[in-house]
Amino acid sequence: MPYVEGLRCRECGRPYPAEALHVCEWCFGPLEVVYDYEAIRAAVSRPRIAAGPLSIWRYADLLPAAADGAVSLGAGFTPLVRADRLAAELGLRELWIKNDTLNPTGSFKDRVVSVALTKAQELGFKVAACASTGNLANSVAAHAAHAGMESVVFIPADLEAGKVVTTAVFGGRLVAVEGNYDDVNRLCAELAGEHPAWAFVNVNVRTYYAEGSKTLAFETAEQLGWQAPDHVVVPVASGSQLTKVAKGFKELWAVGLLDEEPHVRISGAQATGCSPVAAAFAAGRDVVKPVKPDTIAKSLAIGNPADGPYALEAVRSSGGGFGSVTDDEIVAGIRLLARTEGIFAETAGGVTIASLVQLVDSGVVKPDERVVALVTGNGLKTIEAVAPHCRPTATIAPTLEAFAEAVDLPAEL
């Protein structure tokens, strides 16, 4: 926090103070946090980070809010799992899964919400709000409860039951809106203007919130022994996470935490039923045309992605690619990861794994690269997606005979 100099418009460069502002008053471009990297470089070190908490707050020097008094349920420092069995199936030499299903509310959103509500409290807000496809709803409701803040959470009315219950249980206000996520988001963008005393984590404090995703890059590098991977596959909804992961690796180099300059190729993963950024990439366009989402990957179903242009630019400039996968491929991706690595991902994770398969097949992800796939949400939230395929092998009477008859065992068992 002491290293934040202010905010700056990413489009036109106009400066702003570090307050609850998210868009440039002149051109509506997104505001970015400006840090004093020279001062961070002088202060930060690997031992200092190693001595910090086992959470995103070990990287507080590179975050826009102070670790003291952080609103934290312990988000971050999730396992980076070497995935040799999945790598073997795909023909890769070295594959790692960043298992962000293990965050406090089961998704990477705990990273961004911990930063957002910490900053919101610094700015004096008492109410936390958001527009969510589900994971964010869980996280805002939980962190607000933990911090003793009121919460007002908006979701599309057709969300998975698992995500509704796991938000409502925290006791805040949960409003189901008749419409898709883009409708909810538009409503919240307008409501934020009417309720300036509310911290909408992904509207008026979005500038700070989004910075939390950088910790995915920080942790990945630290867990690889302070080395950047060759290639990272990231799911894309608004495009914010991918953009910030790219920024995170660059910052590690800028502040002297890496020995070698990273050249991380970044690839995006989208569901074909909501692939505005992947479609722009495939067509060689700079403009991300909004779409009406139709996919089981509801956590990625943002048809009008705010950071789409920046995600596109990050993928193109890094030499990465885009996966675009069908609902059937998403389900197959969830099951493949579960079967080979023992990790149960929600539909967004299915999109990531299925996209990884596609990117390997098309030669974008190369067999000799050190690859990291970000699996960002827990499968228990979206059991509907795989439930038809995941039944007991047999249902039997409690007798030896019934078992012998029903279950065909191979000789080695």
Partner: protein, 91 residues
């Protein structure tokens, strides 16, 4: 035809602090021109040098993004509501 335009907080100073402004016009483009005539300054903020809506400005007619309709040519009925909303939100 009277169209009600909802103004985002960032642009309210241009309209004397009002959150809603009544304008005339039979298309989105005409309504925005009439907004500029009543409260000069909006055009510079909403449109880039080439006259296109800036990429981080969303305009909605009756809650629908005009990019799914006919853009600035989208017809607006008498009494319709047009919303100008910053695009940078969500996710």
């Amino acid at each position: 035809m009277t169209i009600s335009v909802r103004i985002p907080t960032q642009l309210r100073p241009l309209a004397g602090g009002q959150s809603t402004v009544a304008v005339d016009g039979s298309t989105v483009g005409e309504a925005l021109k009439s907004l500029e005539a009543a409260h000069p300054g909006f055009e510079d903020r909403l449109f880039d040098e080439t006259g296109k809506l800036r990429r981080f400005v969303n305009v909605f007619v009756a809650e629908e993004d005009i990019r799914f309709l006919d853009g600035l040519e989208t017809p607006v009925a008498d009494g319709a509501t047009l919303s100008i909303v910053p695009a940078v939100a969500g996710g």
